[in-house]
Symmetry: C2
Subunit: 451 residues, 2 copies
């Protein structure tokens, strides 16, 4: 850090760190986590590419796009980099299947990776610089999130959008080679453009948040590069971001251990395309099905002992749409027993009205148990022959304690991408994502991921 | 209003009002106020067009512009309508000389007029529909501002940017012909994109706020038009805009008297290019100069009796830059006595270091007087011959009680525009602004105002 920056100058300290952090400073496990995060993000963005949310957003805004140098993953349209960042950011969040920084519930990749991939098609960037910028952007947004969570989230901000702007600004600013003053301005310009109210959850606007955060942060860095001035204390000033948008602001979370502790190492990937609280139940039901070769007609009843949040958030008994199915632990458990999966197909509009699903769902009960942790479940399944089989999931797959393996990530990726790009191109895209660190030109990913 | 909308559905009530309000419903004084507001905005936007702030913003973002169908006032560049809205919104606020809704300190025209003029070059719109959309947009932003002011402003939000998004969304949504559902979504998409922290004051980012608000609101309306869904309670929901961004929210301010009371009638125009608290002193000094044919060498001393905010905000004794000059009542009063004006030329970097200005400035004192109101000043000027002349300004020019006349507005306009477009084109632009209501194509204004 430059010795001229006082210890209370939070924005400048953070800017200075980003400016001076080198790719070779990144530990191998952080580089690996960045690659996994990027791969997972790519799968999510391609997988949702033909969702109505994207169709509508592109129909509305493509007429205003600049020169179409950047790709929308999984689609044919080419847009200017700012609009491409918006669209890929939207797409990556539509299924709510993207990565989660569990401590803050930030989805870190959306704002940062969306901006970076669009940038890579605008100006050449090699794989290791791309990974460095991705890791730094995620570090910036998660640290700022740590400083204000949970008060900032509780009051109603969608923290992915509000902190994501900083992440995108830092990442793009890094690739633009901003000096500390200009990086500080970029963060100031990010601070003044927060995106996202939680009120928008359940509508297309939720996915707009990571996309717009990517676009706003990208814009902030471009303006700062040319000398557009902003505050030097965008985060910590009396009327700066943290004070205006949160009652809590623990600035040590932002500045302590920069370069020695990485939030990216606590990023997680969802195995199932729904809210994280139902994941233990889905995980347990899949394990039961696979261990016992269960057939639905053999099942008399299923009892789930769950954490209280499961019923508070996902206690819907009779979902009527696929989206409502994501808020029904009964539907999710039935699908897991029937199909051994919890992906987007298991939450289709068709799935929730399938008589076979409904018949099984109605034999499932859930009981809140104070002794059950959020990532835990106990399942007691009674067969028609009277036999009882049990399953205890102490830590659900996808939790920090039991992360998805690389093979799990690959299976998830293929499940999302095969249907959009075809199996051959899906495999090629998967391979090139794994190779990100060694690519001489990161835009090859966009080339491999578009139609 | 549609009878199906409950009285607690604030966003929907507001949306429904905007959807159904017709040009012929607008009283003549509101139409006239809209024209004056637009004319004043146009002058400000043209006047600042060659400021460094614009140069930098355009250099940074023009490479990302879509088809250049829309003008940047006072300049040669053509940008897509969203970027043009951004640039004109920035330009109109650079001198801090634009209109002020005194109750909330919102600068209403910036976000709304900037979006509308860009729209008019994208799709044809006649003058009366343009005025109707302008009046409705301003009504929406000022009413939402009234509902949360002053708490929302006090906590640190730049209220022009945060409420301006709604105004721009409503105005563009009106021209797009959105139905109540889509207008409601447009307001939801506006709610989730607030712009502007007060921490940015004193930097280029302050002017970014009305511009980005115009761009965000325009974007919101475009997305909603194509069916991009959002909350139906973007303003009033528990985690909606008002609850998240303010501790105060008096929703009656938004819904009471819609269509019968117009905030536009309380809009004001600044006669001088600086913070409103110094206006009485400038006004009084100009009156003294004109009444007595004062020469600076005849002035021994000047004593100003002022409201306490004058010294709290503008008590700078020795400004070193033009911008600092705007925060010096001494400099402002000296220039008013010397040149009989308080425009942008009186706050140039040259003006504040001019020895003649400094010599007079140093003979000016200011004393806080509890009996003086914010828009009032008492001036006691002692001549070298010992004679004392006094001036009492009860309500400064530009206040609600003593608004600028049309002739004042014209003089201000010409002072801003002549130097950019030349006197002939400046006069033509002024004339066409006055004719706005009868224009068959509002884009004629952009044509007349660009280089």
């Amino acid at each position: 850090m430059s010795t001229t920056i006082p210890s209370t100058a939070i924005t400048q300290i953070l800017a200075d760190y980003v400016v001076h952090a080198k790719p070779q400073d990144l530990p191998a496990d952080v580089r690996k986590a960045a690659t996994c995060t990027f791969l997972n993000w790519t799968g999510c963005a391609v997988g949702s590419a033909h969702h109505e949310t994207l169709d509508v957003a592109i129909a509305a805004l493509a007429p205003f796009s600049g020169p179409g140098v950047a790709s929308v993953l999984g689609r044919k349209e080419r847009l200017d980099p700012l609009h491409a960042a918006l669209m890929n950011g939207i797409s990556s969040h539509v299924f709510d299947f993207d990565d989660t920084h569990l401590r803050t519930v930030i989805h870190p990749a959306g704002p940062v990776a969306s901006a970076l991939l669009a940038y890579a098609e605008y100006k050449p960037v090699n794989g290791i610089d791309f990974i460095n910028a991705l890791a730094l952007g995620i570090e910036v947004e998660c640290r700022i999130g740590n400083a204000v969570y949970p008060e900032h989230y509780d009051v109603g901000w969608h923290i992915t959008g509000t902190t994501g702007v900083f992440g995108a600004a830092a990442a793009i600013g890094k690739l633009l080679g901003l000096d500390t003053q200009r990086m500080t301005w970029a963060l100031g310009l990010a601070a003044t453009q927060p995106v996202g109210l939680r009120e928008m959850f359940g509508t297309m606007t939720k996915s707009f948040h990571p996309g717009r955060a990517a676009q706003n942060g990208f814009t902030a860095a471009l303006l700062a590069e040319k000398g557009y001035t902003s505050s030097d204390q965008g985060i910590e000033a009396k009327r700066g971001w943290a004070n205006v948008l949160s009652t809590k602001h623990d600035y040590a979370e932002i500045t302590d251990g920069l370069g020695s502790r990485y939030e990216l190492l606590t990023n997680s990937y969802k195995p199932f395309a729904c809210g994280i609280v139902i994941h233990p139940a889905i995980d347990g039901c899949i394990q039961l099905r696979n261990a016992h070769g269960l057939k639905p007609e053999d099942v008399r009843s299923v009892e789930l002992r769950v954490h209280y949040l499961v019923l508070e958030l996902t206690g819907k008994k009779t979902p009527r749409t696929g989206l409502e199915g994501k808020f029904s632990v009964y539907h999710a458990a039935a699908m897991a027993l029937l199909e051994g999966a919890g992906g987007e197909p298991q939450f289709s509009d068709q799935a929730v009205i399938d008589p076979n699903v409904i018949a099984l769902r109605d034999r499932i009960t859930a009981i809140v148990d104070d002794k059950i942790a959020p990532d835990e479940v106990r399942i007691m399944l009674t067969l028609n022959n009277g036999k009882v089989i049990e399953q205890h999931v102490l830590h659900a797959i996808g939790s920090i304690a039991r992360p998805m393996t690389e093979r799990d990530l690959e299976a998830k990726f293929r499940g999302l991408v095969d249907g959009i790009l075809g199996t051959k191109r899906s495999k090629e895209l998967l391979d090139i994502c794994w190779q990100l660190e060694t690519l001489s030109d990161a835009s090859k990913i966009a080339e491999a991921g578009r139609l």
